[in-house]
Symmetry: C3
């Protein structure tokens, strides 16, 4: 690749020598080779171009003039830096490094369908009746349960678990040690227990005796282009599948409980937890550590700020925050007022004293 | 199975043809085979029975009359739907699918005791001196450390780690990639560090120099019928074992720190974290994402609502919420009052103006 | 080991028979063998020494006189109990139990450099070009990606994943099923999406269409003496490495996002989450379940109390709490005032009535 080709790819304006080599994108502070591309989307990084070895730089359109004179041979000017970052990193992304074919240590059981050009690494176990789509890569130590199905062009990283009967779409990415299709967490007591009585009366009026297990007969279905982070867990449904829609991205350590339905194009950030049977619309963004209670419903395009606890249904196309989560503006206003409580307590003390002074009976008794 | 047999199992009232086939429980919207059993515990699902292929339905006792005429051949009426759900899913639950015996790829070290009818999957490692109880199943990629012991009829899912010396009871279930017996997180500085001075004085008056590691010589002991979710972590104790009592159920991504003691019949929901040396009583319910501070004690039958942060000892048989967690009723009342602060600030402003008007000195100066 | 040698090791005062056997440290309630060492740092445990089988006890210096007469043959008196706990547990800590050499089932690819005395367990996969330092132990089911490097004297527990190109220092410990080097969670829409418009205007004014993936070309670099807990996840950087400094200790289920830089000697407790590009100073302590927003910076020696949500830059050498996190003292004071709101509302009601009475216009109309 050279500067001209990269400019093309990024739809960037090229200033300088199109033939300059573009071998590997790097932070300007770490661009030590002459064929490195120094990526300085942040204007604060542009001065570093003066001392780096790279001969090609990518900068924001507004920062072109700030590039030190003669620092590089070619400047690529982009309009929306993070989009350019997606493009440039995509162009140079490493392949998973699992050679095509099935590693001799892998255990592939009967009646497994392997697509064309699959790559299956060491210590992979694919149980009976599973289907692996064309060009899909299973890295080392992956397990795929009986009759599970993984679509084409998918990438399952080391140690991920795909439970029996689960269905993954095309171009799905599952990261290290994620769990797709563990059993749901669902128990019931023969008689009403502590939580049930507390919900009805506000008080614990019974004790949990004889927990019975609700078994998970459903599986998990993930749409196309879904990504699931490391050590994230998506549990099976009870009778039907737990479902995640196309293009939804799920970060590390996220928990999606049994029977949950998540729409398409959602972003569920790190450590989000969604309890059983909740329904999340399309294009919903849940920031880090957000919790969603069971059976709750969240509308399309809703955004919940980090750490929020969603206890009730939320309308779509609005921003929420806090626990219990309310509209972010109100939550912030309320929080700001709590920060001014000291003054309010003081004002009320002053008022009490003043009123006492004004009261003729009080004055009379003085 | 037929309708009559299933009715027996569920202690349900049977209306219709006892001989109708009952092959597989399904959500009414997905009951497409004539031997499916449409499970419509939720009254809102009952109308779907009109169009599903199932010939047998399970409904709540109060919804029998709402079943569309002629929709199914047999209606099973139950009193407590989630109990029936536990029973019906239990009757049809799949077996783990690991054939009896030891897979040829498994590595079983010396002096391991394997019970009768154990089933050990591919790439399982059982270290020296471990004991695996009768009828216990170790799925693929499980590791069992030296001298660990797993009771009979247990099920260890793919990728779970059972550390050396840990003891699991009978009928225990451990899900994908859970960690039993990692080392506790315990460090100390030779001199008082930042946290110690902050606890004593409210201020950081020292810095953490030379972190020393407290090693974990204890192990983990889980009682009978304990279930541990995917990617959950239960750490070893320092000198004694971290302990979880019989019948306690632990959801995905839960963390139980070193030296913690959890009682029996507890439910620890998704992403709960319990810090070192805390003591949790019997039948305690911690909802999703609850945190419990180190050395804290929680009484029997306590319930902590989702997202609560337990910083002090809690009495049993009550419901708590918030951070720091207080009785739920008070937490809710306080939260409701913060929502009315805007009006309170306005009232105080009005009062200040009114009092100013009433004050003769103020009036006099007007 | 005997009492005298152990006293030496702990720099403890020895009272009694130095030759008494010191075989294994135990909780006094579980010290059943005559060569057990009863560790009773907590004064409440000292009376138990009367009935335990141990002939050696370790107690706090102030508790020596409380040891029951004749209970043990030797008492070791220490000044700072947790430091003594670190020393005594360190002296008796078990070795990982992986025999030196490479287990025959392990898969070691081409161009791998194995140091002296490495111990590699069953089902380990080391990809091409990786380097394993002297005396380092890889337990069962570990995977090490291409060109990754692990320093000497490190210990990688079962199922941990070390991604391609990642660099771990010397004496690093990685626990069960942790993920080092999964891809960062970073997506962008071609046009401004919901979160961007919400940040700018407070409202959701656009929808997320066409999520593009920012690929992670960087890796992860961990310093010397770093410890990473079970199922913890440290993601790769975008262009540069995500970095963790020397001696930093990371608990189970912690998430460190892409591009994050964590300093040295930090303690990140259970379930902490640090979003992309945040910068954490040296000796910072983040208690359990703390969340840190992306791009935020935290100063040296800062302490954030459990459950706090850090949304803005924090100065060092102070204690913070709450969401959004503010100085702990203020957060606590604010929280205490919210607990007194009921009285404040009552006072304001009373004042309104009193002012009404005082108002001559109101009085006149009576």
């Amino acid at each position: 690749m050279n500067a001209a080709a990269l400019a093309d790819l990024l739809q960037a304006d090229l200033h300088g020598t199109g033939a300059a080599p573009a071998g590997r994108p790097r932070h300007p502070a770490e661009a030590t080779a002459p064929d490195d591309v120094a990526v300085a989307m942040d204007p604060a990084l542009v001065p570093l171009l003066a001392t780096c070895a790279a001969r090609v730089a990518v900068v924001h359109r507004d920062a072109v003039d700030a590039v030190p004179h003669g620092a590089v041979d070619a400047v690529l000017a982009v309009g929306r830096p993070r989009v350019a970052m997606a493009q440039v990193t995509g162009a140079f992304a490493a392949t998973p490094g699992v050679p095509p074919g099935v590693h001799p240590s892998a255990v592939i059981e009967d009646d497994v369908t392997l697509g064309e050009d699959v790559a299956i690494g060491p210590f992979v176990h694919v149980a009976a009746g599973a289907r692996i789509g064309d060009h899909t890569v299973l890295c080392s130590h992956v397990s795929v349960g009986a009759r599970a199905s993984i679509g084409p062009h998918s990438l399952i990283h080391a140690g991920a678990r795909i439970g029996g009967g689960c269905t993954l779409g095309a171009r799905v990415i599952i990261h290290h040690n994620a769990s797709i299709g563990a059993d749901g967490f669902s128990f019931v007591t023969p008689e009403k227990g502590s939580v049930e009585t507390a919900k009805e009366t506000g008080r614990v009026q019974a004790t949990n005796v004889g927990l019975m297990r609700v078994h998970s007969l459903g599986a998990v279905t993930l749409g196309d282009h879904v990504e699931v982070g490391a050590c994230a867990c998506i549990d099976r449904g009870t009778l039907t599948d737990t479902r995640v829609g196309d293009h939804t991205k799920i970060d590390d350590l996220v928990l999606i409980g049994h029977n949950v339905r998540v729409g398409s194009h959602c972003m569920l950030c790190g450590q989000v937890g969604i309890a059983g049977s909740a329904v999340v619309g399309d294009r919903v963004v849940l920031a880090g550590q957000v919790g969603v209670a069971d059976h709750v419903s969240i509308g399309d395009d809703a955004v919940v700020a980090a750490g929020g606890g969603v206890g009730t249904d939320l309308q779509g196309r609005a921003v929420y925050a806090g626990t219990p989560a309310i509209e972010r503006e109100q939550a912030f206003e309320t929080w700001m007022m709590t920060r001014r409580l000291k003054a309010l307590f003081r004002d009320v003390r002053t008022l009490k004293a003043a009123v006492k002074t004004l009261d003729p009976r009080e004055s009379g008794s003085a």
